[in-house]
Symmetry: none
Subunit: 390 residues, 2 copies
Amino acid sequence: MVLLVLDGIGDLRTLDQPRTALEAARTPYMDALARRSALGRIVPAGTGITPGSGPGHLSLFGYDPRSPEADIGRGVLEALGSGVEVRPGDVTARGNFATVDGSGKLTDRRAGRIATAECKRLVRVLQGAIEARPIAGIEVQLTAGIGYRFVLLLRGEGLSPRIHDTDPQRLGVSPLEPQPREPEAAATVGKVKQVLAVLQEAVVDEPRANRLLLRGFSVLPNLPRLGEVHQMRCGAFAGYPLYRGVAGACGMEVVPCGKSFADTLAEAERHWDRFDYFFLHVKGTDAAGEDGNLDAKVAVIEEVDAQLPDLLALEPDVLAITGDHSTPAPMKAHSWHPVPLLLNSARCFIDECTLFNETAAIRGHLGTFPAQDLMALMLANAGRLKKFGA
Amino acid sequence: MVLLVLDGIGDLRTLDQPRTALEAARTPYMDALARRSALGRIVPAGTGITPGSGPGHLSLFGYDPRSPEADIGRGVLEALGSGVEVRPGDVTARGNFATVDGSGKLTDRRAGRIATAECKRLVRVLQGAIEARPIAGIEVQLTAGIGYRFVLLLRGEGLSPRIHDTDPQRLGVSPLEPQPREPEAAATVGKVKQVLAVLQEAVVDEPRANRLLLRGFSVLPNLPRLGEVHQMRCGAFAGYPLYRGVAGACGMEVVPCGKSFADTLAEAERHWDRFDYFFLHVKGTDAAGEDGNLDAKVAVIEEVDAQLPDLLALEPDVLAITGDHSTPAPMKAHSWHPVPLLLNSARCFIDECTLFNETAAIRGHLGTFPAQDLMALMLANAGRLKKFGA
């Protein structure tokens, strides 16, 4: 089984953009595949709900993205997205570099959107400070993100993530002290205060960013492991940390690969005998959509299409091509629109669709259904589900 | 209201079978009806879920097939399917004739798949033995099934079905002793052991099958009775025991009829004034699908179509034609694929479908929806549902 995710593939038809990216792209191989496949559309998180990448992928993997256990905290998401290895029990938080005035009141929650290079320098300062003055029983790891963002990871025994944000989300007030959300988190909060004191002192005289804000304290979600639930070996092939992280949190084995689809595909081919379920991730479609660049999105689709024969040559029993959500170029953002889906297998029901795009998918055999049902559909097509009842 | 179930009607379009059975069949009457009806598709038990006949029919009758109370045990299902009258409180189990070696270890869980005639002879031996040595307070009834299968029915006061299988599901070990699943079942287990001792002794020297295995101890499901829930008189017209049994378990009055559609229809006509809701069952479509015989499936559909005018002459207020699941000929088995539905009534919304088949149904007014909602749709079309709220 292969799940090929073209991130944010779904697009819009508007008065100014009369064709979606899939409609504008020249995709002879996808269209040929569509002629012997079933099309449909998936709804990632609910009608009208725009999902982030976490919920979008969790639903593709068969989880209910709205269930409490599927709630991946902002700290963990930022950590996974930054390539940080998060272990069970680690508490992570998303950090902002910020500025305060002489009286300690916030003047900029993003420190003038400092450059990433400056962020990296500041993170080195922080890491040096905490290594010079370690806090007993707690390991502290800092990782620079894009611009003013960083990740704080705490490792130790019995840590709790039930801690309120220190970011007050407005200016002219002092940052908040860490506070426990429940009494059991008091000990962890004590440690966090000690850590923060050391880190804070290290940047208090920095000219560009003299304050730290933390939010989204969280641990890895406790999700059932895909491979155990469905008795299969799952491999994730993604060029970007966030998608590796989400796949890893679902219990997939993450096989690092380069950022190009050619690279992703080559790795999948190399590991073809090791897994029953392959998650292949293509980031470019989403990035182009976020940029509002239809041409770039079309180019990524055409690049994938050109290499589709190599994927088909592996002869997967089941191939699903879809996205984790729509990222319409006119919106320059994720959206709630249903995502086109192509499903190919010997038992898929060949419908009358002759192209792979949003408009064809509306009329496909698969109809429009919740993305979290895709996993069952793929398993059924693979002959891996037993009959229900006699 | 008439629910005409063409069992397993849904089929596939594959590279080797480019048309489904409904597409291949010449169905002038169904197609004419489609032109003044609404089409759609029903999903019996969930996306990707392949239902057995029990869950498939329960969903057509408006029950949630995945709810615990809709779980029809294997023993009851086998009993109903064998034409055994199961009363409330009766405990049934599915039996296998098996073979053990000199040390009592299982050598064949199906006794070399003995012929049905041999099974019938052995069941007569068992029945004779238990009648010669009856167990106080418990009535025992044995019924031969196909091949190595039989049904054990126990009737008495306060019996519990909470008993583990005696079939260990593997060879080289001894069959298991009946064990209670909960302490309250201990008394029944005691009776079962007494019964088994008598039965076992009766076949211990049989050359072909010298051991009995039991599984799926169960009682009739405790389903709300359709007629009471919806204030209507329900009649079931089916030529095969299993479907009579499921309908009976839902509280329908079962009107036995022959196996041909002509017979089923004639019985329905004879009882036309006695019921508000008619369940008519056609088995042939499923049987042909299970055989992988598209031509036979087409022939059954054409046979039903030819007699459709007789059904329409009865002028039902509401007529739904559909199936309990798909049984695509290429798969020779039940499948998860949505099932086409035709709904005719004076208020059904005449959509643009001009044929009754899977491909037309994709585009129908009714869309694709859970099969368990069909009952409400039929009741609504019959004007039997009140407005919800003011």
